[in-house]
Amino acid sequence: MKRGWIGWSALAGLALLAVGTWIGLFVAPAERHMGDVQRIMYVHVPSAWIGMVCFTAAFVFAIVSLWSGRRVWDDRLVGAVEVGVVLNALLLVQGSIWGRATWGVWWDWDVRLTTSLVMLLLFAGVLALRRLADDEGRRASWSAVATIVGYVDVPLVYFCVRWWRSLHQVQSTPETVDPAMVLPLRLNAIGLLLVAIWMASRRARLEGARRIAESAAPPARVVSEEVARA
């Protein structure tokens, strides 16, 4: 199979992920308060970043899709949304595990966790809507509309939850990051980005192939009988 630059960069991304994870797990120092649990960060934070990148890309694709009306952008939109949803779901699982280890609970109505959850529901809704719409054109414009509204909604959710939470407790996520922790974080983020781009582009290509498989060439033109006058 011919491997394009996206494929090669995804392989490079895998290598980066391997190196970054190795450094994160075995080389970087343990965090002062959280100990080794903090090592979840090296996968958790890149998931959050790249998930957000996916949704941002989906938002841009949605605008282009509405504006140009070309279905290619709809394919790309699905790719970005679906990969974003996968990463976001992983993010919630990792966050939940981390929460269990540090706070003792699987779930906490923390700002980021809550926002991620709502974001997941919003974009999973886009995917659900696509399955319900039968017409190709409607599917494209409706998913673009839902993506745009959903994306615009995310910061609103974030601010709202922050205000809502601020009554109960101050934010407790430690923000100080040791320089030794930055390197694996960056390596993993770049690696995951490259892999995510590959996955999204594969998904987009799949959507395009499906679109074509669902369509058919017009039938052969039949000869029409022309009558000049009565």
Binding site: D134, G137, A216, P219, R221, V222, E226, V227, A228, R229
Partner: protein, 307 residues
């Protein structure tokens, strides 16, 4: 700004086109809002005129706006309905999933012309009408209405079109009078009681104006939906099976009513099985089968050929 087609005896269609330069609609208003001599608009409301932009195919007289002579009222990309064909379709097709409901349709209809679409159920007549009305996007081919691309000039094209389809687009809980008044007001016209009564009389519904449409018989509903077209003052009227659901008196009424519209220069595209009623109303006819045009010629010849 009123649309005044030389062909249309109906006077002004109230309509607007947001895609046109603002100046096109504003300039004549400054000049005192007088209709041009060639205009057939009986009444122009000054305020209304000032606020509405010019529809695309309206060509103002040279110098109609008098603000330095060469103000761009005449838009280069539009034409009057008298010269631009009402409808040009080439290679038009529509696909639903893998099935092409319509393919390779080439049609041309001169302004004010009339066309009969014949063919069995499922041959693509309704799909074609919906494509023409802009309620469905074509999967293939190009379409020009009044010389304009309906995708780029949606508002303009729509204000020149009317369609009465199988679904009549009536609200069952509104009375006939309310329906007509709503339609008048949506176009920016006043809806005085006598105008509404006039329209009701035209549909033969004077006695039922205050009855909710949901209580009407199918024929009455159809007549109401048809008469509502009057308010829209189209240049091109698209009808899907207009003769169905009507009794013989109703059909006679409709034939007469449509003939009246034709005399006023309204273009007509009519999909019908009732050839004995519809063929005399149309000049040209095409027969569709499995989504393609299999026969085209004069409507009278189609009648002779037995459909």
């Amino acid at each position: 700004m009123g649309v005044c087609s030389p062909l249309s005896g109906w006077g002004c269609a109230s309509s607007a086109d947001s895609t046109l330069p603002v100046g096109a609609g504003l300039a004549p208003a400054r000049e005192g809002a007088r209709p041009s001599p060639t205009s057939c608009c009986p009444v122009i409301h000054g305020r209304w005129l000032r606020r509405e932009a010019t529809p695309g195919w309206y060509r103002s007289r040279p110098g109609a706006q008098g603000t330095g002579g060469a103000a761009p009222v005449v838009s280069a990309r539009v034409d009057t309905p008298s010269t631009a064909p009402a409808l040009v379709a080439s290679g038009l097709g529509r696909r639903f999933g893998r099935r092409w409901a319509l393919a390779h349709v080439d049609l041309e209809l001169p302004a004010g012309g009339s066309l009969l679409l014949a063919g069995p159920n499922g041959s693509g007549k309704t799909t074609l009408l919906r494509l023409l009305a802009g309620r469905l996007e074509a999967s293939a081919g190009t379409l020009r209405l009044f010389g304009l691309d309906p995708r780029r000039h949606r508002g303009t094209v729509r204000s020149g079109l009317s369609m009465v389809s199988h679904h009549l687009s009536l609200y069952p809980r509104l009375t006939a009078a309310e329906t007509l008044a709503l339609w008048l007001r949506l176009g920016g016209e006043p809806a005085p009681a006598e105008r509404v009564r006039e329209l009701l009389a035209e549909a033969g519904l004077e006695a039922h104006g205050d009855v909710e449409v949901g209580a009407y018989s199918a024929g009455m509903r159809k007549r109401l939906a048809l008469v509502r077209v009057r308010i829209e003052r189209p240049h091109l009227l698209l009808l899907d099976e207009p003769f169905s659901a009507l009794d013989s008196a109703g059909r006679a009424w409709l034939a007469e009513w449509l003939a009246g519209l034709r005399r006023e220069g309204v273009g007509l595209v009519l999909a019908s099985h009732a050839l004995e009623w519809s063929a005399p109303l149309c000049e040209r006819a095409v027969r569709l089968a499995a989504g393609q045009v299999t026969w085209s010629g004069p409507a009278a010849a189609l009648l002779e050929a037995g459909g």
